[in-house]
Symmetry: C2
Subunit: 220 residues, 2 copies
């Protein structure tokens, strides 16, 4: 019974996600869904990404999912981009319908990139498609290198994996070589970026990857 | 419709949690439910806690919740205590029924303390009572000081808050005084512990608090 209900919820979600995806495509908007644990650095990476897109003349907007506050959307809006806050009312993930409703507040005709910052959670966000082109997962090295075994769905479905807070690795026992091997066994096609939003390490390559997503969408 | 189902699920959960609590009380077992983000250090704190209880002659067991692996239970079992792994099969939290089933494998008559390590998630674990005496929340300073605004239920319901990885605070912009003020505004009765499982800072006070929970249960 419970399983049946969950299946229905996911099927309905997928249908709405497909409608969102069609709308994004129609408007030539590339969409990235950022997912991570709480505190892995999603909002800071969003800000670094929008700076990198500004340098390249790429217009973007951000949809920010949170349980209860608008802390993240406020931080992003300070940087002069449209930032839509969606409060999930207790739910631990964004779903496609929340995105559909949020799109009323975004003018898709003037942007080329939409970044969705999901709720901080390594479990349910991986199950709910939103209509995005690519799933971007962040892991900070301070969380430990054992996370792929514990949250396999998220790690195996990511199109890009940003390994963040590399400036702090010296204070941890994170085994980067072992970690990379684990990831590539689970998800051989994933693009990996090792970055620090404090020192700027790796952000150039990351910005280039994001810009490429926009170019690919526009080429279609 | 969806809300009604959720309400039913939570009511059923609460009834089973009360049954679990009665069973714990009958056997004189104090029960702590450890919750945090992925990678905040729950498993390491469990290991430090069991070492502290061993020094005091307090027998304990651990129930470990995870989506898919037994990484954590394996680490704990290496330290010579009973560690029961519960795989939630994708669910982002433990519920009271999973604990009830797990109890078949724990001899409650020979332990005084049961530690439940919940799934790494700051959202849903706060909603599902398990029958515990106290809710213990961990936050690592590397996650940032803005988390209470974003996950208010977890922070307002915690009986104890362990602020972990204090050895790394120098590499972060975590504002401890501001953070403490925020917490005490939300949850004036919470007990706070500032610790490092690497340097050992704060672990003596933490161990004493846990031992006191056991003593209080035994005095009832």
């Amino acid at each position: 019974m419970e399983v049946k209900i969950l299946k229905d919820i996911l099927e309905t979600n997928d249908k709405i996600a497909d409608m969102n995806a069609a709308k994004f495509k129609e408007n030539g908007v590339a969409v990235l869904n950022f997912m991570s644990s709480p505190g892995a650095g999603k909002t800071t990476l969003v800000i670094k990404t929008l700076e990198a897109m500004r340098e390249r003349g790429i217009e973007l907007a951000v949809i920010d999912g949170d349980i209860a506050s608008s802390v993240d959307a406020d931080r992003i809006a300070e940087h002069g981009v449209v930032a839509i806050q969606i409060n999930t009312g207790g739910a631990c993930h964004l779903d496609a319908n929340m995105i559909r409703n949020g799109l009323d507040k975004v003018d898709l005709t003037i942007i080329e990139l939409l970044i969705i910052e999901n709720v901080g959670n390594l479990v349910c966000p991986a199950e709910f498609k939103l209509g995005e082109d690519k799933k971007v997962m962040l892991l900070s090295v301070t969380e430990g290198d054992d996370k792929p075994h514990k949250y396999p769905l998220m790690f195996s479905e990511a199109d890009a994996l940003v390994i963040n807070k590399i400036d702090m690795i010296g204070a941890t026992n994170f085994d980067m070589e072992g970690f990379k091997k684990t990831i590539l066994d689970m998800n051989p096609d994933v693009e990996m970026f090792i970055v620090s939003c404090v020192t700027g390490e790796g952000l150039e390559a990351w910005g280039e990857w994001v810009a490429n997503q926009v170019r690919e969408i526009n080429a279609k």
